[in-house]
Symmetry: C2
Subunit: 477 residues, 2 copies
């Protein structure tokens, strides 16, 4: 049995070293592998299958709001990237440059897209002429590249997978409405499917997207008390339209600038799933996103009828994503693997169970063992998966709320940020100087100005001047 424990022993405990625990889990659960390309990760089948489920769920939700998918080139000519001033300043220092095609140097170098606003604007300037052409609600699933100095699997890598939605509208109001609508799509998806509660709000000017009029964000709290920006939605106003000449004739035949939005969610969100739900045995996946929801593990599988019964049970549970582990490993080893991979339910079935017409269901999150009659197992599996999904969300919400506090003066604020990691709510005057000072002195950044504002105090937690809004602060990934 010593061998059975190897897999679990291979990972560091969360309390001991959270960062090492994270790295161990992504590797041992076979979500990723490192590649020969510095800072680029390989998404292995266990990792990519989670992304496929995320894609499927999000894509359906996008399309329900009228979004259509397209595909844009992965290269952006330098001159095109430079058309919007703030945008190029934000991205040029971190792009990869293609300078040679085949054996020839290029006349103009091309960057590998870090994001595709400029390409979408270029397209829209060609295909939008009249108010009849609006809105255009386009999205693409692709990878983007940002030349990062330090990288971590899922959280920050040179190349990552994402979707980027880019819409163009007749009016400022429509653009604002779409920006908020997509933020809500993200937040609902994260809560309902990934079981991660989100704080919705607006970024300060310091933290907003390069070239945006306003950036909205959803922020989650990880197990270690650090925040993770999980999805963003930007309203560009008519700034890009002016830079790229996206104009349409309105119903009165007057030429108007269009208004635009963009919004994105990336494989980074898989990092959030790991860090919100995982434990010292590995990954814990919410049932709705788990590529395999149920792993059937036969006990004493060499005995007559056991494997047959396991296969029969598997086909009986065809409504769920179910697998049988009939490999020649020991049951204990199989349990470890199923736990490491975060498969929500394990069903153990052996000769004694078969005799009693039952099976043992074990929940990955609580380790609760539930003995279920084989006659009722179809219904019971569905119920247990559903309960687990809801309880995981509530557990995450409870953890977040317990690690959220409020501060009304700088001493209390700094103390909270450093002593007990989590969100700290505090008032802010609106000045960049205070944001900078808070970051410098405590390491915390403004996460967002939440839509649900609370009046905690009259004055800014940093400078003491009159406060303009309540901000969530935290140390962030």
């Amino acid at each position: 049995m010593a061998k059975d424990k190897k897999l679990v022993e291979a990972i560091t405990s969360m309390e001991e070293d959270f960062a090492q625990w994270y790295t161990d889990v992504v590797k041992k659960a076979e979500l990723i592998d490192y590649s020969s390309v510095r800072g680029c990760m390989i998404l292995r089948p266990n990792g990519y299958a989670i992304w496929e489920n995320i894609q499927k769920e999000l894509d359906r939700r996008f399309k329900e709001t009228g979004v259509e998918n397209v595909y844009m080139p992965m290269f952006i000519p330098e001159s095109l990237l430079q058309k919007e001033k703030d945008h190029v300043e934000g991205f040029a220092p971190e792009v990869a440059w293609v300078t040679h095609g085949g054996l020839e140097p290029l006349q103009e170098r091309l960057c590998v897209r870090p994001t595709s606003e400029t390409l979408f604007c270029d397209l829209y300037s060609n295909i939008v002429q009249s108010y009849r052409d609006l809105p255009k609600l386009y999205n693409q699933w692709c990878s983007v590249v940002r030349w990062e100095k330090t990288t971590r699997p899922f959280l920050r890598s040179m190349e990552f997978l994402w979707q980027e939605g880019h819409t163009v509208h007749a009016t400022a109001d429509e653009a604002e409405e779409r920006t908020i609508q997509m933020l809500n799509v993200y937040a609902d998806f994260c809560e309902q499917v990934l079981a991660i509660p989100m704080i919705k709000g607006r970024k300060t000017d310091k933290e907003k997207f390069a070239g945006a009029h306003s950036t909205y964000t959803i922020e989650a709290l990880m197990h270690d008390g650090k925040a993770l920006q999980s999805g963003t939605s930007h309203n560009f106003g008519d700034g890009f339209a002016q830079a790229f000449g996206i104009q349409y004739t309105d119903k009165e035949n007057k030429l108007q600038y269009a208004h635009q939005t963009s919004w994105g969610m990336s494989t980074r969100i898989i990092g959030a799933v790991i860090m919100v739900h995982g434990d010292d045995s590995g990954l814990v996946l919410p049932p709705r996103i788990a590529p395999t929801q149920v792993m059937i593990i036969p006990i004493a599988q060499h005995k007559e009828g056991v494997l047959e019964k396991a296969a029969e049970l598997s086909s009986k549970l065809g409504a769920y994503r179910v697998k049988v582990d009939d490999s020649d490993k020991s049951p204990g080893w199989k349990f470890s693997e199923q736990e490491m991979r975060g498969i929500p339910l394990r069903i153990e079935i052996g000769p004694k169970d078969i005799e009693a017409n039952q099976a043992v269901i074990v929940r990955r999150d609580t380790r609760e063992k539930i003995i279920v009659s084989l006659d009722e197992i179809q219904v019971r599996v569905g119920e247990i998966l559903e309960t687990m999904q809801l309880e995981m969300l509530e557990r995450a919400r409870k953890h977040r709320d317990e690690h959220t506090s409020a501060a009304t003066n700088f001493t209390a604020f700094a103390d909270k940020i450093t002593s007990e990691p989590g969100f700290v709510k505090a008032m802010w005057c609106g000045d960049r100087a205070c944001e900078d000072e808070i970051k410098e002195k405590t390491g915390a950044t403004s996460r967002c100005m939440p839509f649900e504002q609370e009046h905690i105090a009259d004055t800014c937690v940093c400078c003491g001047k009159p406060a303009k809004s309540m901000v969530y602060w935290g140390k962030a990934y």
Copy 2:
């Protein structure tokens, strides 16, 4: 009514100029748009939706054979690309090179993947140790870049979307079996879903993939008599395994080299759909791949009850991919648009139809008008779509067979190739010199040595020496 004809008049007829017809269709059906990046195309919603359906169908078929999806980095370090000699010689002249990351020059330049054999081999050399680890059946959906001098939408572009499967096996037999299995998956998909009949066979050494032991292909004939290589499946033997050190211990504890395959299909296949099925009114999409299968066009839609009835009909036909065109354009203009976009069925419904409890169904391919009772329309639409799908395949097969001939001597061969474009079947001695001579003198290339061999003559059509195999020859895209 003059305005109604504008859309059709905007495209060149096939007979007049097939290449221009093709370019007109991809643009006017809004499948693609040109981008600011030379040689890279934009896939617009109409074009990308076809690719999404192709992905969905192929992905399901792959997974049924045990394939799992992964994602590999888009960059390949130059030293990794160089590990397999034939492979680097084949691809190095046509790759894009990244030389700078952010503001810094790179120590080693990276190419943007033209294909990912080297990355998969690098991964397999790390994760394959024992026979228990085999086979690995991985696939990825991504874009690749090849620095082409001349480009055409879908057929040849600098960046294109595809899937690339890469498998690793214990034995040569298993690798060969998988190579053929995936070729069959492609051929079945093309016939059943895209209504394009395929010739299956092996490529000559001249035409095989850089680094492959053998390459298998499916070849289709376009409306203009030119051939299109539509999908390929490669058996690498243990060549890459030796270059990358992919070894495993077998059951007898002996170290063995693994055997590998790769196989790919790209957005190029959309070019085949256009050029096999299209006509002078635009695109004709096979029902099983069409993003919209039925377009309902209300007649005299300002009259009471017409739009309501169209909407009612649309929800009644919910089992199909159906849309209502209730825009303020004229019916004639809507007909042109539906035809240009290749939507398989149009349903016309106006006040007189409603009174008679009927609608008029018009098939896109034959233009046949079928009057159908509204009580039976659900069943009839299904039947007509199915008939259309099968007849499109048969029509394409008939066209191909009528444009396939055989030649037993060089004069007849050259005459056939130049006078009447199509496939020419002819015997070949197996020497590269004859292939080169045929290409030089006639412009035809060997498309494949078909699995279904015929004995047309005893001697090579070029040199007159004893023949080794029958080859399909043709001018190709």
